[in-house]
Symmetry: C2
Subunit: 203 residues, 2 copies
Amino acid sequence: MSSPNTGAWREFGPRSLPVPLEAALLCFAEHGYHGTSVREIAARAKLSVPGLYHHYPSKQSLLQGLLDLTMNELLQRSEQALAEAGPAPVDQLDAVVESLLRFHMSRREQAFVASTETRSIEDGYRDTYIGYRDRQQHMVDGIIAAGVGTGDFTAADPKAVGRAITTMCVGVSTWYNADGASSPDEIVEQNVGFARAIVGYRA
Amino acid sequence: MSSPNTGAWREFGPRSLPVPLEAALLCFAEHGYHGTSVREIAARAKLSVPGLYHHYPSKQSLLQGLLDLTMNELLQRSEQALAEAGPAPVDQLDAVVESLLRFHMSRREQAFVASTETRSIEDGYRDTYIGYRDRQQHMVDGIIAAGVGTGDFTAADPKAVGRAITTMCVGVSTWYNADGASSPDEIVEQNVGFARAIVGYRA
């Protein structure tokens, strides 16, 4: 039975980040973490520096807050997509690939800052962040392993396949253009097809 | 007849950038373009600031010099790989994919700075840089179009295929680890196979 929320993982409104995180995102995307001061973030957020520090006591806490919301949104959408997909490995693959693609087209700035500023994460948070990424990768890897197990997929090296598919999906954020010739639906259809080809899906 | 230089596009020694560009690369990779001062680059290069400015009159000229050498090396290697590959579309595809993969494993730091600091390129150089990237993409697209023309490749949308393959190859720089479980040769073999699957190669 489909709930009223079915397919919500496909729908993206504008970002709804807390004001300080939205300001930090725009600053980091423009000038990078090290090229941005807390003063600049406060000005962009229309907050005083003490007002900003009240909720986020450091530039690092802004980066971590931003990455936390970003990775949680990514994982929640992927997990919802997977939960709605049914048991066939190919349907699960399609769902998670579609979810990764739509996220990386709709949340390009966040994907850019996450990939460029991994270097700027301080040690205490690094494991948490890598844990988020691993969870997403394991979701993809688990589907591929299951499909190889049932004989639906013929991939010789499931781990290499999982990495290539994730790389292709995440990388859409580096070239997707909302004004470009291809619509998100077309890009999803094409790349879901490529993912099926890479896993060696036998229809 | 094979020249003594055959296969040189496969071989990567350590970087041999001019000293100021090597210093700029390390600084930009660590702290980003906007997070780096010319003074820091000079210190890393063991040069005085005026000594650095003598050859590179601005931080922007260091970025442009670095991107120029990077893109020229990438293109020269791809063009040599293509020239040595013979006429069959699948051999040309294998060669250019291998060249892209090896470059992005061996020149990770440069690939990272190029992808993250495209935002920092000033207007006068932007078209030059985009021209380099277009030349690389057109090389891939041309091979795919030729293979679709001969019937070797069954891709329905050659342009989408070219983009996906380039994204997968360039993205290897985001996860490749010289100490990881897979060797460069294994990664090449796997991803050449994925590229063939994506173009719908019929052996």
